[in-house]
């Protein structure tokens, strides 16, 4: 009797575990299948066409791709130096009494839902951008800044964790040769933790590019490519969030599915690079 239950239990867990894998494969295949109409209709030009006009049944993803790339890029150049600064502060400067509370608050802030960051951006940051740069304040720039603040806690926490992997004894050896803190950081800690730090940044990038709610509030969903960062714009997730529930034709839906697939493939690639190239998973339990 026991041996039968044993078999059932073992197979049930295995079945579910494999199910997770199949689920991911299913997600890809469903998105692909639903993208087919759009792929047939537009082919490769879906990625290069700048016109997104649902009323004309014309769908080009370039403005959304452009918006995703630019807003994420903006977010990264703003967040990376500040995240490094916070990480240095937390791991090398702050007194033990500040270190823990500040470190924990930053980790907790990473848990606050992105929709809250979006709301803050809309009510408090949009007016500032409007006053500083004119326009309506809803813009690519606003999206980039709000996104940078949204990813900052995660980025600072993982950068700090990566820096903290440097053995104390290695740092002490450099201090023992007369190094200053900055010498030790740039010559020892950063080279030692390089893979972890870069991996963390790329992981943050992978998350930022798929981030929806923090930017949906403040980007405007305007399918236009503009080099003026103070103009409204759109991104792949912003387009999906705004238009999915309203799409009214098969081709429109199919184009949105193709956007979803595109986003999934991009994030999957970026996250894989971060995880497998830079951050080899720590094996626990051995």
């Amino acid at each position: 009797m026991s041996s039968i239950i044993d078999k059932i239990f073992a197979n049930a867990t295995k079945f579910i575990a494999i199910g997770v894998l199949l689920l991911v494969a299913w997600i890809f295949s469903v998105l692909f299948e639903h993208s087919l109409k759009s792929i047939e209709a537009f082919g490769f030009s879906f990625l290069t066409e700048t016109k997104w006009a649902p009323n004309l049944e014309k769908f080009g993803a370039l403005p959304a791709i452009y918006g995703s790339v630019v807003s994420t890029f903006l977010a990264m150049i703003l967040a990376v130096p500040i995240a490094i600064g916070i990480a240095i502060f937390l791991s090398e400067i702050a007194h033990a009494k500040i270190k823990t509370p500040v470190g924990v608050s930053i980790e907790l802030l990473a848990a606050i839902p992105s929709v809250v960051y979006g709301m803050w951006g809309l009510f408090y940051f949009v007016p500032i951008i409007r006053d500083m740069f004119g326009g309506i304040g809803i813009s690519m720039l606003t999206a980039g800044i709000v996104l940078s603040i949204m990813i900052l806690p995660f980025m600072a926490a993982v950068t700090r964790d990566a820096m903290n992997t440097t053995p104390d004894i290695l740092k002490e050896s450099a201090y023992a040769l007369g190094g200053t803190k900055w010498d030790v950081i740039k010559d020892i800690i950063i080279p030692y933790a390089k893979a972890g730090i870069i991996g963390s940044f790329i992981l943050a990038l992978g998350r930022a590019i798929g981030e929806t709610m923090a930017v949906t509030f403040v980007m405007g969903n305007v399918h236009k490519i503009s080099t003026d960062l103070t103009q409204p714009a759109t991104s792949i997730p912003v387009t999906l969030a705004n238009e999915f529930a309203e799409a009214d034709s098969e081709l429109y839906f199919s184009s949105l599915f193709e956007l979803s697939l595109l986003l999934l493939v991009i994030s999957f690639t970026i996250i894989s690079i971060a995880k497998f190239y830079f951050l080899r998973r720590k094996r626990t339990g051995q």
Binding site: A10, A17, L21, G85, I112, P113, M119, K181, L240, F257
Partner: protein, 280 residues
């Protein structure tokens, strides 16, 4: 100026810049937090818990519909996602361990944990909403469950692997069948860790908005029928905040406050559990 003097100056500059950037970053985050608390507390009242949504302008609306909807969406997602995640994690740690299959599942789950949640919404739209012809609470719950699965799976896997193998061996040595060793010995040893994983997983999906936008959609009134569109705190927050009506915006802040406090509490509790376990 000697080279060492230059180094000392460079050091002071970098230390100042780091402290400054930490102050900037922390300042922004405190700003957001204080706004959340000020607006949230200001908007809180009993009406919020007792009343459903109301048309804008009459100040009598509440969030009862969204609170109950949120609980149902997250509740059903957890009711399925938690046991499935624990089972799958059990397979990885107790049966598969270092097999190729287990490693692949771990890798894919790791990636899925950071993948864009709005894409999961699109997937569920395709497999549930489109065939059934309508948005529904079930669709929302399924989306949340899919997001939750890899989190529960990976923490269960990690936490079970932390249980010393001597504990398992001792149980096996008594002739205990494997499923009993796992359910009675290993689970007990990893209880605090798994519980933490569950709490963090629930906290994570509770804050999700994007995958609900076109699955459970929204409803301005109380609905407990999972086969119908259903309100959630997050989507309500989004709709109210982007509306031009001040009383709705106020409700949006109240929703943001309640939800954030719920998520922060779960996170803090989860950490305390882990600390307690370490302390033992």
């Amino acid at each position: 100026m000697t080279y060492t003097q230059k180094r000392v100056i460079a050091n002071s500059i970098v230390m100042a810049l780091s402290t400054l950037s930490a102050l900037i970053g922390i300042g922004f985050l405190l700003w957001i937090l204080s706004i959340l608390i000020i607006n949230g507390v200001d908007a809180l009242s009993m009406t919020i818990f007792l009343e459903e949504g109301a048309p804008p302008g009459n100040e009598s609306g509440g969030l009862k519909h969204a609170l109950i909807g949120q609980l149902m969406l997250v509740g059903y997602a957890s009711a399925f996602g938690v046991p499935l995640g624990i089972m799958a994690g059990t397979y990885l740690s107790e049966y598969g361990l270092k097999s190729k299959l287990s490693e692949t599942i771990r890798d894919i789950s790791d990636i899925m944990m950071s993948a864009p949640s709005i894409v999961i919404g699109a997937f569920v739209y395709a497999i549930v909403v489109a065939p059934s012809g309508q948005f529904s609470g079930w669709a929302g719950s399924i989306a949340l469950m899919i997001i939750m699965l890899p989190i529960i799976l990976r923490t269960t896997d990690d936490m079970l692997q932390l249980v010393p193998s001597t504990l398992r061996e001792a149980a096996f040595a008594l002739g205990t069948p494997k499923y009993k060793v796992i359910t009675q010995v290993v689970y007990r040893g990893a209880k605090a860790g798994i519980l933490t994983g569950v709490m963090l997983g629930v906290a994570r999906v509770a804050g999700e908005t994007a995958p609900l936008l076109f699955t459970s959609f929204n409803d301005n009134f109380l609905n407990t029928d999972m086969s119908q569109p259903m309100a959630s705190l997050t989507v309500t927050m989004y709709n109210y905040a982007t509306s031009p009506y001040e009383d709705w915006q106020k409700l949006g802040w109240a929703a943001a406050f309640i939800l954030s406090m719920f998520i922060l509490t779960l996170n803090i509790l989860g950490r305390l559990f882990l600390l307690k376990r370490k302390g033992k």
